[in-house]
Symmetry: C2
Subunit: 506 residues, 2 copies
């Protein structure tokens, strides 16, 4: 008995140290990435790839090391002797590490090489507007993904394995079911809107210079309660959020002259991610596998919640409209609160996902989901993609890309081997609506608080119900616990109808 306790103490110490080191590597890797996207001089790219490769190699070596695995097994075989906290950690670690160890090292190396080249070829294909520059490399990626699915081999269709890496526990069957309802609902709603009188009117044009945009976004962040000494906002081509340390989370935005709304809503979006990262469990679970998000969908639920349910809501602008009028002189001469609220919720089928409005956004995602599942079950071939893409676009959104840069070549995800990632954007959007429904049903006073620019209760509610749990539960369990049901796209559709019917006088 004494011997066993001793071994367990040694193993607990080892896994604590190992997880801490992995967490520290994570922070270093995040800084390397953040700097690359924000301040790095252009020619620094070559050295930066060496920095990032070394950190990721050292990190991977530790994850799959035999010593780590033996300590985990020592603990898991007598898990009943551990405190509850350690049981939770060991169970999750065992799952993660077992999965990682199924993948041969040479595969990891081949995948890194393939995606490095494929990303370059994707960029080149975009420059040349020529899908055939990219397609041979995409084929290689697809074959590698199939090989990967063979190693992990979850039950059901191959795509389940890919999905599980981003949205643990989610399945193709479940998504097909939800997305088919959602697709139909969105297309119907879009149809009604396009036939409305208001849709036919010429949309308002509004621009703010970068300085005004900055002052507005700073005001949002201040009101949302982002702690000044634990986060920062910088600029990058594509907005993102990254966690460098428990008290060092960074977001970026992009101030576009011609699209002033972009920086406003992308900042609220990223700030939603940042509040989540800053709220992850710090005490007993700090630097453990639990202090992380259970899925990208849950992460996206936080950003979409703030961006759409809060940031594009009428109560939000009841409060902030006068702020903008104050920051941007002359603004209120050309606009009214009603017109502005209409403006920030303008529905317009468009070709590019990242520029899509709240309503059409999920159609872009469903298109990609349909294509990805087709690629993995081999009902779609890579060479057919441009045509299939354009047909799907026309079917769902009624518009057709003029070229592949506006079509199948628009996202970088596939070039990086991130197949199975896209659905999490829609899952997050649906979860956000479910959370909003529960929050406002149980706390109707929230609406008035938003009108007063008070967001503290919302942040606390999200923290208590989601952030503080980290990975203790799976994403859908968390939603189930809060909302009384799992993923349900009907709630999102209902939310959209309640919002857009009056907006478009339907």
């Amino acid at each position: 008995m004494y011997e066993m306790v001793n071994n367990m103490k040694e193993s607990l110490d080892f896994i604590e140290k190992q997880q801490k080191e992995l967490s520290v590597f994570g922070g270093i890797g995040a800084l390397l990435g953040w700097d690359q996207m924000t301040y790095m001089p252009k020619q620094g790219a070559m050295d930066r790839s060496e920095h990032a490769a070394l950190i990721s190699t050292l990190s991977h070596e530790r994850v799959v090391s035999d010593e780590f695995w033996q300590h985990i097994k020592t603990l898991s075989t007598s898990i009943e002797n551990l405190e509850e906290k350690d049981q939770i950690i060991v169970n999750k670690l065992e799952e993660d590490v077992e999965k990682a160890r199924k993948v041969p090292s040479d595969f990891v190396t081949r995948m890194v090489k393939a995606t490095t080249i494929s990303y370059q070829k994707w960029e080149e294909a975009r420059k040349k507007n020529d899908f055939t520059v990219f397609s041979p490399h995409l084929k290689e990626i697809i074959e590698l993904e199939k090989e990967y699915c063979g190693y992990i081999n979850l039950p059901g269709p191959r795509y389940n394995t890919l999905l599980d890496d981003y949205e643990e526990g989610m399945t193709v069957d479940k998504l097909k079911h939800e997305f088919s309802h959602l697709k139909k609902g969105l297309i119907d709603l879009l149809h009604d809107i396009k036939n409305s009188r208001i849709y036919q009117q010429e949309p308002q044009k509004i621009t703010f210079n970068a300085d005004i945009q900055k002052r507005i976004t700073d005001r949002f962040l201040e009101k949302m309660g982002l702690p000044e000494d634990r986060f920062r906002l910088d600029e990058s081509t594509h907005p993102f959020t990254t966690k460098i340390g428990y008290d060092d989370v960074r977001i970026t935005t992009n101030y576009q002259k011609e699209n002033a709304l972009f920086s406003l809503f992308s900042t609220i979006h990223e700030a939603g991610h940042a509040l989540y990262e800053l709220g992850l469990p710090q005490h007993e679970y700090k630097n453990t596998v639990i202090s992380d998000s259970p899925s990208l969908g849950i992460h996206e639920s936080q950003s979409r919640f703030w961006e759409n349910m809060i940031g594009r809501s009428r109560p939000f602008w009841d409060y902030f409209y006068s702020d903008i009028a104050q920051i941007s002189p002359g603004f209120s001469e050309h606009s009214t609160l009603d017109a502005w609220y209409q403006h920030v919720n303008r529905v317009e089928p468009s070709l590019i996902r990242v520029e899509a409005d709240e309503l059409t956004y999920c159609l872009h995602v469903i298109l990609r989901f349909e294509i990805e599942t087709g690629l993995m079950d081999e009902s779609i071939q890579v060479d057919e993609l441009p045509q299939i893409w354009n047909e799907h676009m026309e079917e769902m959104l009624g518009i057709r890309p003029g070229n592949d840069v506006e079509g199948v070549l628009q996202d970088m995800h596939w070039s990086g081997g991130n197949i199975g990632y896209f659905p999490t954007y829609a899952i997050g959007t649906i979860y956000a609506a479910q959370l909003y429904k529960t929050l406002t049903s149980n706390n109707p006073e929230i609406i008035d608080q938003i009108k007063q620019g008070q967001f503290g209760h919302i942040t606390n509610w999200l923290h208590e119900n989601i952030h503080q749990h980290g990975r203790k539960y799976q994403a859908e369990e968390i939603i189930q616990n809060i909302c009384g049901e799992g993923l349900n796209s009907q709630v999102f559709l209902h939310y959209l109808k309640e919002k857009y019917y009056p907006l478009y006088d339907l």
Copy 2:
């Protein structure tokens, strides 16, 4: 024979890989430091210390690993079979690694712990203006430094060992000789200046706001030829230069409203360091122990050269004066080129080293050298420091600190265990004068080029004679090769007299 060649190939591969990894760790560590000093949110400090500690531990483990050492020894025992390039690398590696391996790991750990606490106590002592808060920790540092000297044990006084870490090959005896001449010469020159008519006149007050300062410094950097895609300039409390990659070197400055000259000259200073880093050997020596500076003195010779010999020279302002007048409207109404040149070369004994003028600066350094050598040969005790400091200041500069914050507590170096570092500031200053003398004697046309704002020939000359050699030669060998003699403070004194006699009408 075949076996040996094979072993050598394997060893060459190993040391190449190991040096590359160390170089990559160096870049990562540099980014962690740069970010900490520039953009990191305040609360990120705790995690950042974990990031930095992990990188430095991994790096140190590699330097002192038995495997590395065995490969180095394999190569060094039949060094005659290697190409010249590899001979140079192996010799330098053997020196470095042998030295590092003399220091027990537990000592390294104790030193890190002691300096971490001692730095905090130094900050606290400054806040409380109370040397006794810091002194027990400084005593511990001194004892650790003595212990360190015992491990390395270079011939001659203990201080030789400390000096060698920053200025390889330099000795206390040599410095005592040079510094005693220099001290006398500087004190005499300062005496003459203080008795001059011009010194008695009320000095001009000039301020520029931060924006003007930025535009002026940008202009300098552009003209000095810093490549935009390989470097950047940011702000930090204390200016510094850091190399994150071969094509990613970063400098910082600080725009002070009340001291507009600070950002101007500190930027030129750091740009001198940056040009050196950007010019280090890239081809055969990239990511090897040779692609580095041979000493801090040589590094400082580059920054001082640009800051003082160029940036505070009359030809430089013949060119840039009109630029400043153009950038800062109204400036030339209150000033003339003559008055400005006088202003940027104002000599004034002051208490703080980092704010000292070109002439008195080295007296601050010599004071610290005298104290450090005294601490190491035990002729000075830590408790006596405040008094000894103040007496030395009075003797050399004729002024006495009103408190220890302005005196013995002003520099952070000792709290970090960096004893033996200070002399390199004066060594660099002397080398800079020697380089300037040789450059302008051999290329008298340089003066006219400076007047035209053309610095390309200067940069090329420095690159060819210094930058491109990296650590192939020791610092003094490099100077000897260029100037025909080693460290010679008489050259610096002569330069000062030639410049300041006319400036002060002597």
